[in-house]
């Protein structure tokens, strides 16, 4: 199956090229050779050299100028030992769709494989979607198609998704200060699971059909005030799945103060994922995340932010607090940053929960990068220092460096080396070579 997908991906991308070159086209090709070795005691030594090809094609202004084609995917060939699953080669057409954009009312139609992200809906489908604004501030969108099955559950013939899915969103906007939306999705019946432990999940009502409805809001009565968020309701469990809301205050042009509130009911939220629904019982059902961020742009070059989050679960609570600094100079060609965060978390959240364990840790990160017309280079260091040792290690750290040279304005060759020590590995040394080709014939504004 995987080989078929890989062949199909290559064929589709090649077939698309002749059409693409006639249009305003952007092609991004990244070829990456990674090198790493697994020499853990007690296991046979393995040498991995996976070669991965990423390809993205955006062909705009096809046909009458409003049609575009978007194809993204990757393929991997293991030149050494198998790096992931039982296949020496793997691949995936992650997105592949045609989009027709109308000149009025922000209307568009998409057909193919794409992600739907509307209101409470976040799905990947092989199908069709359409949307448009309507007079008087209304708007409507709808989609339908087959689910994209991208995961394999061990010992199952299914990924837990139903075959077909459809839904949509209706919204109303008032004078750029209010938007109200209602959205919903309906998936055909969840497949029967074969493994006994998974069957028990279904029998206990922890796994079931994917059917949600919800509402979203955006409110900005003043330029300095903005409230947004959504609530989703699971019609199968007849319970709210999540509330997610954020309030932004902008008392000064350079200052943003944000408060957030999230509440989750894990049974309703995770009902359609075998993996997540099998884990939530140990954590119990309800959780809340509350917090805030203060972000201040000192000038056009320096940003400073501080953040705080409080996590509440039925088994305990945790706090995360920290600060980040970003500094850009020399016409944005040099960018640096540093950050510090501390997570205070009780023993219930520890890797191995016990009265003597702790999940608290400090996180410290710093980076610098230079992006010049002919070359680019970066260094990035991150360390996590645990309050209590994990697998007899007090910390996990990694230093990564990257150096690249632009052979032509479109073609760049770069190499990365990273080294670290952590509870998994005494020495974690990895390297990669990367060849990047970026062709942009599009008149579209900056893509990055």
């Amino acid at each position: 199956m995987k080989k078929t997908v890989s062949c199909l991906l290559s064929a589709v991308l090649l077939l698309a090229l002749p059409a693409a070159v006639l249009a305003e086209t952007s092609i991004e090709s990244t070829t990456i050779f990674r090198f790493f070795q697994d020499s853990r005691t007690g296991f046979p030594q393995k040498n991995f050299v996976p070669a991965t090809q990423f390809l993205s094609i955006d062909a705009d202004k096809l046909a009458d100028g409003n049609l575009s084609l978007h194809l993204y995917g990757w393929g991997r060939l293991d030149l050494g030992d198998k790096s992931f699953n039982n296949d020496q080669a793997d691949g995936n057409l992650t997105h592949g769709y045609l989009k027709y954009r109308f000149n009025q009312a922000n209307a568009q139609i998409r057909a193919g494989r794409f992600i739907i992200n509307e209101g409470i809906i976040n799905e990947k489908i092989d199908g069709v979607s359409a949307r448009t604004d309507l007079p008087l501030g209304f708007g409507i969108s709808a989609f339908g198609g087959a689910n994209v099955h991208s995961a394999h559950i061990p010992n199952e013939n299914t990924d837990g998704k139903g075959d077909a899915i459809y839904g949509g969103r209706l919204h109303y906007r008032y004078r750029g200060m209010l938007e109200l939306g209602v959205s919903g999705l309906y998936e055909t019946a969840a497949p029967a699971l074969g493994r006994l432990s998974n069957q028990i999940l279904a029998r206990e009502g922890k796994f079931g059909n994917h059917r949600l409805v919800g509402g979203d809001v955006w409110l900005a009565p003043l330029n300095m005030l903005e409230l947004m968020g959504h609530t989703s309701y699971n019609t199968e469990t007849r319970s709210v799945a999540d509330h997610s809301y954020q309030l932004n205050l902008k008392p000064l042009k350079q200052l943003v103060l944000t408060g957030e509130f999230n509440e989750y009911r894990d049974r309703s939220n995770f009902l359609t994922s075998v993996m997540f629904s099998s884990m939530y019982s140990a954590l119990r059902d309800m959780s809340r995340v509350k917090g805030g961020i203060a972000s201040y742009a000192i000038n056009s070059q320096i940003d400073l932010s501080a953040d705080y989050r409080h996590y509440t679960r039925e088994i305990g609570n945790a706090d995360r607090t920290g600060t980040d600094l970003r500094y850009r100079f020399m016409d944005n060609s040099i960018r640096t940053g540093a950050g510090y965060h501390y997570l205070r978390a009780g023993s219930a959240f520890a890797v191995t929960p016990s009265s003597a364990s702790s999940a608290s840790y400090h996180e410290l990160r710093g980076f610098i990068m230079r992006d010049d017309t002919s070359y680019f280079a970066s260094a990035d260091a991150i360390i996590f220092v645990f309050d209590k040792k994990i697998s007899d290690k007090q910390s996990a750290w990694e230093v990564a460096t990257s150096v690249g040279y632009r052979l032509t304005p479109l073609l760049a060759l770069s190499g990365d080396i990273s080294y670290g020590q952590n509870p998994q590995f005494t020495d974690d040394l990895k390297g990669l070579l990367r060849l990047t080709y970026n062709l942009n014939l599009s008149s579209k504004g900056g893509a990055r």
Binding site: T52, F54, D58, Y72, F84, T94, H95, N103, Q104, Q108, N117, I121, N122, K124, T132, D133, P135, G137, S150, A151, I153, G160, H171, G176, D216, M228, G229, H230, K253, D266, N269, F270, S278, I293, A297, S305, R313, R326, R328, N332, L343, A345, V351, A359, R365, F376, A377, S378, A379, D380, F384, A396, W397, E398, S418, G420, D428, L432, S442, G446
Partner: protein, 156 residues
Amino acid sequence: MKRPVVIFPALAGLLLVLAACASMKSVPGLPESHSETLAPGQQINCSECHNDQNKGAMKSLTSFSHTKVFVKNHRYYASTDDRLCSVCHRPSFCADCHTGQVEMKPSVKYGYRPDRELPHRGNFMTLHKIEGKIDPAGCYRCHGRANNERCVACHR
């Protein structure tokens, strides 16, 4: 008896949509693309050029300035205004992380861009055992029903 109850609202809705379609040409749309190329790696501040005046039902563009808060919580904006995102960003920009099936961490693919807010830097293999218990809903948002092939390798 139930069928007419469903059919009449459906017909009324259809008529409303048809009537709305008839006057669609008067509803303004966003331009296909931003008129100027924007520099990569810069925190885009829309208010540098766009004032706060709203046109019709369009939101103020200053709401979309790429502050740290915006980048961190862009999901709220993307779920209602992805058409506006696409004026500046190609869809492949979103697909750098949101693919449904990734081959490697975005921070590895873009190892030369430490300035980008890419998830799971460093040894996240250890940390996920803590973070996953504290806020599993945060994991579920991306790894729930897709993009979890590597998760199920251990979480069977």
